[in-house]
Structures are given as structure tokens and as C-alpha cells.
Homo-oligomer: 447 residues x 2
């Protein structure tokens, strides 16, 4: 059996490894557009911050390790067409037959329709190549100040990274808040943290033009915004990279539609990762939610099914976490904005809690927002913000696990969670937040 | 309605608070043998280590806060009898009527049947009074060396505490390993950590006699063990404190039997916490598993039901975590020894994993042991050891949540856990450990 995989990032490599685990004799060929198979693109900001110094550190696995698994690697090999009828893909002036095909082409950076995005010194940041170009530009031009357009995960991590590197940084967000994946009160804490660390933050500011002036780029925006910088990074989100894909059903933003076995509308063609619509475990419908952790899961599911298995993707909850300076922000499930978007009745209660018993040195405060259905008490989601060391990401994960299992908010109190005064409280903060939610919700309902 | 509560620690206070939440006008009287209501006895080692300096810091709530909730506090008030027929309790030369009674008398330290346990300078450590007596003795006798009998949670935390305080410490355990709540390989890592920090550790050594010699206590044990120290701490476990309880059904070690509503065999009498048998969520039977986190949950359930509710305790999984120096050890569900005790078929697979992406500074290794049923893949339990900052306790909690929901080991891979390179991997270590378990288990089954 011959398996071809287009794309060598998270989804592709996970599928390839799974196929070889199940079928040692499988012929697996992986085609990737660049020469960096299975690199951690989530690690890019830490290379540009100089927290990590070697490009190869970013490889989840070395090329040697991938080859040793018997996976055929075709680097710098862009596939430009899929012949669905004849089961062939083509690239680099030749074509290849496949029995099973995985499309794992990922996503590409969105570029806003404004003047000047093509100017030298203006970058997007998605792949290792982008990273190397930015690094080279910073060194060549002795860049000591930069403007970041977009206050999402990449924009925020890059603000942190460039400040750590010693640059002056301005960050501009068109919406009223940075980090739109969490609700406003938490986003405001993130904004304060950025400002405390010297980032010049503007919200409600839409960039309208980038202009080249001697030695610099002048950026104009709404509300008379103007700023001159040596480098401009556009980080306003991504869209699925499916330009290659025809005669296969697509959906939202051109993302490929798959079922939960990661099968596309065409037999023997699977798709996974940032190029597809993702099944949401709570909403029970497809959304576009590009995340590395999701790509790994979907790739593994695709690989198993391509090799004859029958497994289903159990869905995403949009579980995400980001560290910005010493602040950690995590979320899972639905937040207020999600509930409004999906027209769900909701109540959100915010709690300020200590990460461990206050009497033991080093206790830090967490803010936990729990969102649930005021009538059924169904647990919709949670957001937590606090400091590194407060086990925020894994506290979100407890709630994610609960949502996967259709918990009501008060049921969080039933979980036998670990306790020692140096790390938690007899009721974990997550449980105290659930108790507060339940009490307030009950009180409001009885009024 | 008149509610009486015997015991003012975790179970008692949780019940009292819950009763007052539900029934503002309830008459709630709490009787406690000492004068420290709702103190964190789990925090005692950190007072003796001098990491915390004020006795009152250990109070989960101040006396004023408890009184402000309308709870009647009767301190230094030992109840010595319960008149089940007439619904009365008696203590301090008077008796009190109750409509509903909660027994939350907790546990007392076990004292081994050896000579010399009554000598001055020999202590057990359970309550705040014990702590204060030890503190006074250390100061009065300028104690600079101590011997701890028992390598369980309290023994280990006290070894850590007394080393931090500058004492020379010897720790002696009768069994072949310290920390019997985890399997041997993890216990050996704990032993190394103790030794690296200067604790003189002996296992397989049973203490046989404590002898008074001038200015010291000479301790004799098996294998020619002998050691002279100024202070001896006995920390060999606890037993339920139910000496007060007659005409109510008791079970294992004299622990009170309750159903999952925390009702005893006698109408209108409830019991919760370390004085009862605890329902185990996985085993679906009662065990004796005294833990503060469990006492809080059971107290809250008892309180709600006493005030007319109908809630059931969902059970313990023996989830526990302890920090010893910079090491954290957590566990939930069943380990190898548990499986052997309950005669369950099991497979345990150990994995060494990084707590976050290795390329980002500060990555530390974790050891994760996953235990499951080799035939059904049912998830039995997990143990994790690693360093503070590696989110070990909340990683155990993800698994605890999964066990509460009857997961099979490979299902851990379906959970949408958060990821950022600074805090985890695209597959969380817990999931990589589950994958390794599944692969090895499948390989062994196919042989």
C-alpha cells in the first residue's frame, strides 16, 4: 500500500508515524514545500527572542529519526495538483501514484488588503522560512524597533519575544481588545502586562497604510495612528492553505470538509490539521480552529484510518494556553463571545483565588471565569489567567476533560483532585470557582 | 432545626458552612476538642520548618469568620457520649439535644507497641496542639537532631521541614520503601532526594525500643539499628477516632460505616472525614483513605443532606500529591500494589518525558507510570514524579477526572488539552505516556 502525505508539519508527520506503527511495510511518502519537516512552528517566537539559539532545536524530530522510521521525505517539493480520478499527485515536474492520500497543507498567514504590505521590512510569520527571513533582516538592518499588527497569540508572543531581544515594540489591534479568544477582563490584564513590560499597545486601531520612508516604515491607522519602525510584522490570523485542492468539498474560509474519520468527500483522500474544518466536541458541529495540538490528534486519527483503522476524532474544545512574559492565559470550551455567537443562554462568574494555600510562601492569585448554562448548569467553558508556576494550563485541562464528559458546573466538585498546601487547596481553585458559579447562579434564579 | 457537629476540622466545618448556605436560620453548633477550629493540619510541617511564622496563618478561616456565618463554636469541648435514643450528646458536664448530628472526629496517630513511646521527647503529630508541643520542645532543648519513625507523607514532609530548619534528621521505615502510596521505582527517587538533602534514610528497619539516656533518646531497631537523637517523631499512620461512637455500625479499623449520602446506620446521624470508611470511585467499595480533600467533600455532602438535600458522594480515587524538597510526587487510582491487593490483572508502563518542549529553557523530566487493564485497556491509575513547576499535581488531576469517567488508557489521547511550548507538548506528557502504554500493551498481547 502506498501512502502519500502532502505537508510535513504536525498533521502530516503524526499520520506518517501512525501509519508506520500499524503497517511496518507501508510505503509512506511525505512531500513538503520547505526543508523543515516536523518543526515546531509554535516555537518560532522563542528563536526570535533568542531564548533558543539553534534552529534545529525546533525540530520535534530530526530528519534522521523520521527517515529511520522508514518514511520517505521529499523536501522543497511543492505539490501543485491532485488528480483525484487517477489517484496521482504532481510536483517538481513529475507525478506520483497514491493508494491513500493525506492533505496536511496547513494554513497561511492572512494579509490585510492595505497598501505597503509588500514593502521590504514587512513580514508575516508562519513557517521556519519566515522566521529566518525576519532574523536575517533584524541582523542586517540592526533593527531595534518593530510594529506588530494584530494582538492574537502570534502577535502577543512576538511582542514578548522582541522585547526580550531588546527591541522597542508597538502592537496594534483593530478590535477593542487583544487576545480575542478570551473575554475582555482577562484581555485587559494581558494588555496591562504588555504595557508594564514596555510594549506600546493600541486597540481599536485599524492599520490603513504602510509607507516607506528613508530607513523606516511609516504605518498609518485609524484615530490618527502613526508610528515609524524599522520592521513591521503582520500577525492578523491565518486561513487554510487549500489552493491546491479542487473537486474536494470545502467549507468555511475554504477549509476542507472531513468527517470525524478525517475522510474528505473523495474516497481514499484524507485531510487533517489547519487546512480543514474541525469538529467541535461541545458544539457538535464544524468550526475553523487551527491549532498544533489539534493537528497532531487529527493526523494520528487519519493515519490510523488510512492504515485500515476505524477511529473517530473526538473533537476540539478550543483548548489553548499562551505565556506572555510571566503571565499565563488559558481557555477551553465557550467564552461569553462564543455563547453570544451561538445564541446560547449563559452565565459567567469570575473568581479571584489563590493558586495554593495562602499561608505557604509564593502563593499567587488566579482569575478563573466559569461559563455555563444558567438553566441546566451545563459546563460550557473556562478561562484562567495568572502567573507561570500556578499550573494554569493543566487546571484548564481538568475542565476540558470535564467538558468532554458533559459535566454540569457543580459536578466539578465531585472530582477527587490532588491536594497539598504548597500546590493547591483542599478544594482546588477550579472547584471553588465552580462553587461560586453555582451559588450565584442559584441565587439569581431564585430572584 | 438544630444541627450538632462533633469535630471542628475539615469535615465539620464544610458541613456547617453548607448547612448555613442552604438554611440561613439553622442552629448549628460545632464542638471541638481543641481551640483551633478549621486549622489546616496539612500545613503543620511548614510551621515547624519556619516557612510560615504565625500559628494563625494555618487557619483556613478565622474564628470571627466562622462566627459571622452564624455557626456556634464550642472550643475545648470534648464530647464524650452520644445518646442515640434520645438524640443527645454530652460533654463538659452538660448535654445538648440535636435534630441532626454529624460525627467528624477525624483520626488519631497510631502509636506502635514498643517500649519508650511515652518518654519525654517522643512525639506524634496530628493536631495543632502536637505541633505546639514539638515547637516548644525544640526551643527549650535546643534540639538539633531528630529521628522520624515512618516514611509516609507526614514523615517525609517532616524530614524536609526539619532539614530546612537546620536539624540533622534520620528517617526509619519498617517497609522496604518510603512512600508506600507509590510504587518502588518512584519511592526510590524520593529516597535519593532525601539523601541528597542530608536525610539519613533507613528502610526495612523496624524500631523495637526507645531508651532514655542522658540528654538524648537512644532508638534501637532491627538489623542492629541504633541512633541517638534529642527528639523522636512517630509518624506511622493514623486510625479513625471513633472511641466515642457506640451503637453505630463500624467497619475497617473501627471507621464508621456510611452510605454515599454520609448517613450512618442510625437515623439523623451522619459522619464524614477521617473517622469513616470512604467510598472508592473505582473499586466501588469502601476503603479507609483519610485525606483532607476527601473530608471537605464528604462534609459538604453531609451538610447538604442534613439540611434536606439528596446528594451522593461520588467517591475517592486516592488522589494525593506531596512535595519533598523540590520533588513532587502525585498519584491517583490504583498502583501496582493496589492491583495485587485487589487481584486485578494489570499492566504498568513507565515513561520518562519532558514537562514542556525540550528546546525551551527550563525543561525538566517527569516519570509517569500508567496502570491499566491489559485486556480491556481500562485506566486504573497513574503516578507521576518530577520537579516543582512541572504541573505534576494537575496532570494527575487530568487522569483522576478521566478515571471518574471510566476512561480506557488510549482515550486520554482524545482530550483536547492546552499546549504552548513553554508549558507542554502538542501531546501532553500524560498523553505520550498513554500512547506508550497502549503500544507496549498491544505488542505484548500480540506475542
Amino acid at each position: 500500500m502506498n501512502y502519500s502525505i502532502i505537508g510535513g508539519s504536525d498533521a502530516g508527520i503524526s499520520a506518517a508515524l501512525r501509519i508506520k506503527e500499524i503497517d511496518k511495510h507501508a510505503q509512506v511518502d511525505m512531500f513538503l514545500a520547505d526543508e523543515y519537516p516536523n518543526y515546531s512552528i509554535c516555537g518560532i517566537p522563542f528563536y526570535l527572542s533568542k531564548e533558543i539559539n539553534h534552529l534545529n532545536s525546533l525540530a520535534h524530530r530530526s530528519v534522521e529519526e523520521i527517515l529511520s522510521k522508514g518514511i520517505g521525505l521529499h523536501t522543497n517539493h511543492t505539490i501543485h495538483s491532485i488528480d483525484v480520478a487517477n489517484r496521482q499527485i504532481a510536483g517538481n515536474n513529475r507525478s506520483y501514484h497514491y493508494d491513500k492520500l493525506l492533505i496536511g497543507t496547513g494554513a497561511v498567514s492572512l494579509i490585510p488588503p492595505i497598501q505597503g504590505v509588500d514593502l521590504p521590512g514587512v513580514f508575516t510569520l508562519r513557517w521556519i522560512g519566515d522566521m529566518l527571513r525576519i532574523e536575517e533582516y533584524i541582523l542586517q538592518h540592526q533593527v531595534n524597533n518593530a510594529l506588530i499588527i494584530g494582538g492574537g497569540y502570534i502577535g502577543l508572543e512576538m511582542a514578548d519575544a522582541l522585547i526580550k531581544r531588546g527591541l522597542r515594540v508597538t502592537l496594534v489591534e483593530a478590535l477593542p481588545q487583544v487576545l480575542t479568544s478570551v473575554d475582555l477582563p482577562l484581555a485587559e490584564m494581558v494588555r496591562s502586562k504588555l504595557q508594564d513590560n514596555g510594549v506600546n499597545v493600541f486597540v481599536n486601531t485599524k492599520i490603513e497604510e504602510i509607507e516607506s520612508i528613508p530607513g523606516k516604515l511609516k504605518v498609518h491607522g485609524t484615530n490618527d495612528f502613526g508610528s515609524e519602525n524599522q520592521l513591521v510584522l503582520i500577525a492578523v490570523g491565518v486561513q487554510p492553505e487549500t489552493s491546491l485542492v479542487h473537486n474536494i468539498e470545502k467549507g468555511f474560509k475554504g477549509a476542507i470538509k472531513t468527517n470525524r474519520k478525517m475522510e474528505t468527500s473523495v474516497p481514499n483522500i484524507y485531510a487533517a490539521g489547519d487546512c480543514i474544518e474541525t469538529y467541535h466536541a461541545f458544539l457538535k458541529e464544524n468550526v475553523y480552529l487551527p491549532l498544533g495540538s489539534t493537528a497532531h490528534k487529527q493526523g494520528r486519527i487519519a493515519g490510523e484510518n488510512m492504515a485500515g483503522g476505524h477511529v473517530e476524532y473526538q473533537g476540539s474544545l478550543g483548548s489553548q494556553v499562551v505565556k506572555i512574559f510571566d503571565l499565563v492565559v488559558g481557555r477551553t470550551g465557550l467564552n461569553d463571545k462564543d455563547c453570544e455567537k451561538y445564541n446560547l443562554p449563559y452565565r459567567t462568574v469570575s473568581s479571584e483565588l489563590w493558586d495554593h494555600k495562602h499561608y505557604y510562601p509564593g502563593a499567587r492569585q488566579l482569575t478563573i471565569r466559569i461559563t455555563g448554562n444558567p438553566d441546566t448548569e451545563e459546563l460550557y467553558g473556562a478561562q484562567i489567567i495568572g502567573h507561570t508556576g500556578s499550573e494554569i494550563s493543566k487546571r484548564i485541562d481538568i475542565i476540558a476533560t470535564a467538558i468532554h464528559n458533559n459535566y454540569r458546573v457543580p459536578q466539578l466538585n465531585d472530582i477527587d483532585l490532588t491536594y497539598t498546601p504548597t500546590l493547591s487547596s483542599p478544594w482546588d481553585p477550579v472547584q471553588m470557582a465552580a462553587q461560586k458559579w453555582t451559588t450565584i447562579n442559584k441565587g439569581n434564579r431564585e430572584k
